[in-house]
């Protein structure tokens, strides 16, 4: 009985200390932020307009001056190095755009890239202009047609790795997955004003909750950051985080399946240890 009382005291004081250095400290370091918003309520998007894919193909000719659309047979107009030198960052291939980005967000991005991706503080249109022009003037109809077209050429299924490559790898490398950014580091760093970090171990250093909120809206967690909001759908974002997990925490499944076995073994060991103790101490008590 006395031993249990002592144990309880030890547990209480250990618990208070733990609470102070972990949950309490983290709540101070990382104040609560609202959950990710996958509806992109704040953007001026499609506004309910339905597009016509057959009309969109022509509008897409606006885009292929900078972007490749490999699924429709448009190769990149210039080499990655030249594109990076021209725009600061290599424009991504658009084959999967309508699959991985939310359509309202995509419409808003095409209308006004800096505002939709929340980097207007950097690209104010006066001192610095976003490398991709805004297509506001095309009107909602045309933009809806373009998105319908992009949807018609997008793959039905896409791998986690491909989402990452299309959405992130123009800026970020992931060396443990052998992916280097399509834009050279020094060029993209100059363009962004800060170096996009390698993302290999981000799943361990930031954790999945932070990643979901951050990717959905970087400004919410790193106020004033130059990383744009990319506008991934919930499904695509989960794929990106899944890919980051496969890369930075590749033994997660092994860990989770080994855990219960080891604990079970130890529990049985403890029972035998207890029985042995009782047997030995019966002689002396």
């Amino acid at each position: 009985m006395r031993e249990l009382k002592i144990l309880l005291i030890v547990i209480i004081f250990t618990g208070i200390t733990y609470w102070g250095v972990e949950p309490l400290a983290h709540s101070v370091f990382h104040p609560h932020t609202p959950d990710a918003d996958y509806t992109f309520k704040d953007v001026d998007g499609l506004n309910g307009v339905k597009g016509d894919a057959s009309k969109g193909a022509e509008i897409a000719t606006n885009c292929i001056g900078c972007h490749s659309i490999k699924s429709a047979g448009f190769e990149a107009p210039m080499s990655a190095n030249d594109a990076a030198a021209t725009y600061g960052v290599v424009p991504p291939d658009l084959s999967t755009a309508a699959k991985i980005y939310d359509h309202n967000y995509l419409a808003a991005f095409i209308k006004n890239p800096a505002v939709a991706s929340k980097v207007a503080h950097k690209f104010d249109g006066v001192n610095k202009v976003h490398p991709m022009p805004g297509y506001d003037y095309l009107g909602n109809e045309a933009i809806a047609d373009l998105i319908a077209y992009l949807g018609s050429i997008a793959p039905k299924d896409i791998s986690a790795k491909a989402v990452f490559e299309d959405a992130c790898s123009r800026c970020h490398s992931m060396k443990y997955a052998k992916i280097s950014s399509t834009t050279q580091v020094d060029v993209v760093s100059k363009y962004m004003g800060s170096t996009p970090p390698d993302l290999s171990m981000m799943i361990r250093s930031r954790g999945d909750e932070y990643l979901h909120k951050f990717i959905n809206d970087p400004q919410k967690l790193l106020h004033g950051t130059s990383m744009p909001r990319v506008g991934l759908t919930k499904e695509s974002e989960e794929k990106v985080v899944e890919f980051m997990t496969q890369t930075g925490d590749s033994k997660k499944d092994e860990r989770e399946s080994l855990g219960p076995k080891v604990l079970m073994y130890l529990a049985i060991l403890a029972v035998f240890a207890y029985l042995w103790k009782v047997k030995i101490w019966r002689e002396v008590h």
């Binding site: 102070g20 370091f29 290999s200 250093s205 590749s250 403890a270 101490w281 002689e283 002396v284």
Partner: protein, 410 residues
């Protein structure tokens, strides 16, 4: 040449040459431990066991780790964590054990303080124990640097910088410790040497000293009763095992310890598999970057209380450093600051009992505020807690003397 008979079996053969029979008696079956002890007396063996885990997992990590600022991070986070079979397990085990060992050390120390096990003949146990605390601290600090993450780098930067505050030799000393003007490759390689060779060697030798120092005074017991070990041993050997107030180390004492160690292992491996972030700070999974200071720099949880004593004197870094210096050696002086000439558990020493719980509460406050940003009211709470810590030790001789006199010297 001594005379050797033909031996019957391996046991006898060894006994003839190494006196293994006598050795077993001296170290195990006739090494006497008081019977009236609770599970807190198993903490020493839990520590010995955890140290063993650290050594074994460390050896596995050492097979793949590369002590070079350009390779260290990837050798740990890619080679060991993703490529090597069960490398992640060894790293988690090593990291979590390094953190949990301090929890057990603190419990072990506080048990010693509660039961007065540091005085009246037990001074050398205490002092060798404190030497273990200091070498373990250095071992943990040097090990934390090896993965070369952000916290490895910045904690090393901040802590080595502290030595700069020492009068006269300070700035030279910092360079001497770092092997460079800033924390760099030379710092990493020397901390690597300390972590895998010199400190473990020192720790092993001090553990032997610690165990040896227990030999003559014997361990204490729950009532702090003074036992006549020869008389009790006589009783036990005659077969009065129930009447004797002692038990042999093997198998009786160890039977209980093995059970406690088994329960501890369940807790430990739960942390290894499911709850490791407290020991393996996520920030350290970002590679060291001398150009990018992390938003919050803090040491591992077990250094927070002394770190807070340092920060507590926020208006004067010299005072802070002096207080930090005192905090790090004051526990060595326990046997000499306690003026009560009797050995009694704290609940039989009215003022000391209050002192003991105040000390625990104050150290927890220091630990918690040692991690929080030292701004606004936090700075003042840290200051008050630091002053309370120092004052407690100034009061210790006085209150123990009062307790002693009140009890009439009994």
């Amino acid at each position: 040449m001594a005379h050797f008979k033909e031996a019957n079996g391996v046991g006898e053969w060894l006994d003839q040459r190494l006196a293994t029979g006598t050795l077993t008696k001296v170290l195990m079956t006739e090494y006497w431990i008081p019977k009236n002890i609770n599970f807190l007396w198993a903490m020493g063996m839990v520590l010995a066991f955890t140290f063993k885990i650290l050594v074994i997992s460390g050896i596995f990590l050492l097979m793949y780790y590369k002590p070079d600022v350009n390779l260290a991070f990837d050798s740990v986070n890619y080679t060991i964590m993703q490529e090597v079979e069960y490398g992640w397990l060894f790293r988690h085990v090593h990291g979590v054990a390094a953190s949990v060992v301090f929890l057990v050390i603190y419990i072990h120390m506080l048990v010693g303080i509660y039961y007065g096990s540091y005085k009246r003949g037990r001074e050398m146990i205490w002092i060798s124990g404190m030497l273990l605390f200091v070498t373990f601290s250095a071992e943990a600090f040097s090990g934390y640097m090896l993965p070369w993450g952000q916290m490895s780098y910045w904690a090393a930067q901040v802590i080595t910088n502290l030595f700069g505050g020492i009068p006269l030799i300070g700035s030279e000393l910092v360079i001497w410790i770092r092997g460079n003007f800033v924390v760099a490759d030379a710092t990493l390689t020397r901390f690597f040497m300390l972590h895998v060779l010199l400190l473990p060697l020192a720790i092993m030798m001090i553990i032997v000293l610690h165990f040896y120092s227990l030999r003559i005074p014997h361990v204490n017991n729950q009532e702090c009763e003074e036992l006549d070990f020869d008389k009790e041993a006589e009783k036990y050997k005659k077969g009065d095992k129930k009447g004797a107030k002692i038990i042999p180390f093997w198998p009786v004492f160890m039977a209980k310890d093995v059970f406690v160690v088994a329960v501890f292992m369940i807790f430990f491996f739960y942390l290894v598999f499911y709850h490791y972030n407290f020991a393996m700070d996520p920030v350290n999974f970002d590679q060291a970057n001398p150009m990018k200071t992390p938003a919050h720099i803090y040491p591992e949880w077990y250094f927070l209380w002394s770190y807070e004593v340092l920060r507590g004197f926020f208006f004067s870094s010299d005072l802070g450093l002096a207080a930090f210096g005192v905090a790090n050696i004051i526990f060595f002086l326990m046997p000499f600051l306690d003026k009560d000439k009797t050995v009694k558990p704290a609940h039989k020493r009215p003022m000391f009992f209050i002192w003991f719980w105040l000390l625990i509460i104050d150290m927890i406050v220091l630990t918690v505020y040692g991690k929080l940003p030292p701004t606004g009211p936090n700075a003042w709470i840290g200051f008050v807690a630091s002053v309370v810590f120092l004052v407690l030790f100034v009061l210790l001789p006085i209150i123990t003397k009062i307790d002693f006199n009140k009890a009439g010297g009994k």
